[in-house]
């Protein structure tokens, strides 16, 4: 049986701060659904998500309290500077 997990991705300054760009976090199916906000303290980037960091779930901008399911991809995005 495959383990329930969520893929976490970091970009740009957050990736370099953490020292990794992608990891798989195992989740417990019976416990309440994790959210981006509840996962953040496990990433080694401080206790709370800084206000300038945005979140994407499955490659769409999302709320910090979006419930996550096994197989989801959650990304933490530092301030955008395109164009």
């Amino acid at each position: 049986m495959s383990t329930a997990s969520i893929t976490v991705r970091l970009f740009a300054s957050l990736r370099e701060q953490a020292g990794w760009g992608e990891l798989s976090l195992a989740i417990t199916p019976d416990s309440p659904s994790p959210t981006p906000a509840s996962l953040w303290p496990q990433l080694g980037l401080g206790a709370a998500i800084p206000p300038q960091v945005r979140v994407a779930v499955n490659q769409a901008f999302s709320a910090l309290d979006q419930p996550l399911q096994s197989g989801d991809e959650v990304a933490f995005l530092p301030p955008i500077s395109g164009g």
Partner: protein, 157 residues
């Protein structure tokens, strides 16, 4: 001949890992708009952005590095372009954007929109460019003296 709507003539989007010529890209888009003998749109607005030779702090810039989120960047630009096309009644949209290492003077972005009037073309093009700067996942790093510094935020309008 009537102009196709934006739904019939979707966004043309190109992310370039190497230097691109914005005028060639524009000519390619215009040929596509008039393919099959279609009448050229009455109004187009174009913006070309190039990398300036100075960092945000005024030092000589070696290069600008552009990181993106493969998959989400393209999807997000599609979402932005579709919403703005509907809001302004645009007939067609073209976006070219560099990724990777970009040198001073090289083109970093091309935004081109077509409409039936100059107002929607200019307003739609401006709104699209600003949305790219704030809502499409790209990150810039300035390289200067062998040191890279992530850029937080955008230059003044």
């Amino acid at each position: 001949m009537a102009h196709p709507s934006a739904e019939e003539r979707p966004l043309q989007l190109r992310l370039h890992p190497a230097c691109f010529d914005p005028l060639s890209a524009l000519a390619d888009w215009q040929r596509n708009l008039t393919a099959g003998g279609a009448e050229a749109p009455a109004a187009e607005a174009h913006f070309i952005g190039r990398v300036r030779g100075r960092t945000a702090h005024g030092a000589a810039l070696e290069a600008l590095e552009l990181e993106h989120y493969p998959g989400m960047t393209e999807t997000q630009i599609e979402r932005i372009a579709t919403a703005i096309s509907h809001r302004h009644g645009l007939l067609a949209v073209r976006v070219d954007h560099r990724v990777g290492r970009v040198l001073p003077g090289e083109a970093i972005v091309l935004v081109a929109v077509a409409a039936d009037r100059r107002g929607p073309a200019q307003r739609g093009g401006q709104e699209l460019l600003e949305a790219l700067k704030h809502e499409a996942p790209f990150w810039k790093r300035e390289w200067c003296g062998g040191v890279g510094t992530w850029v937080e935020g955008n230059t003044a309008f």
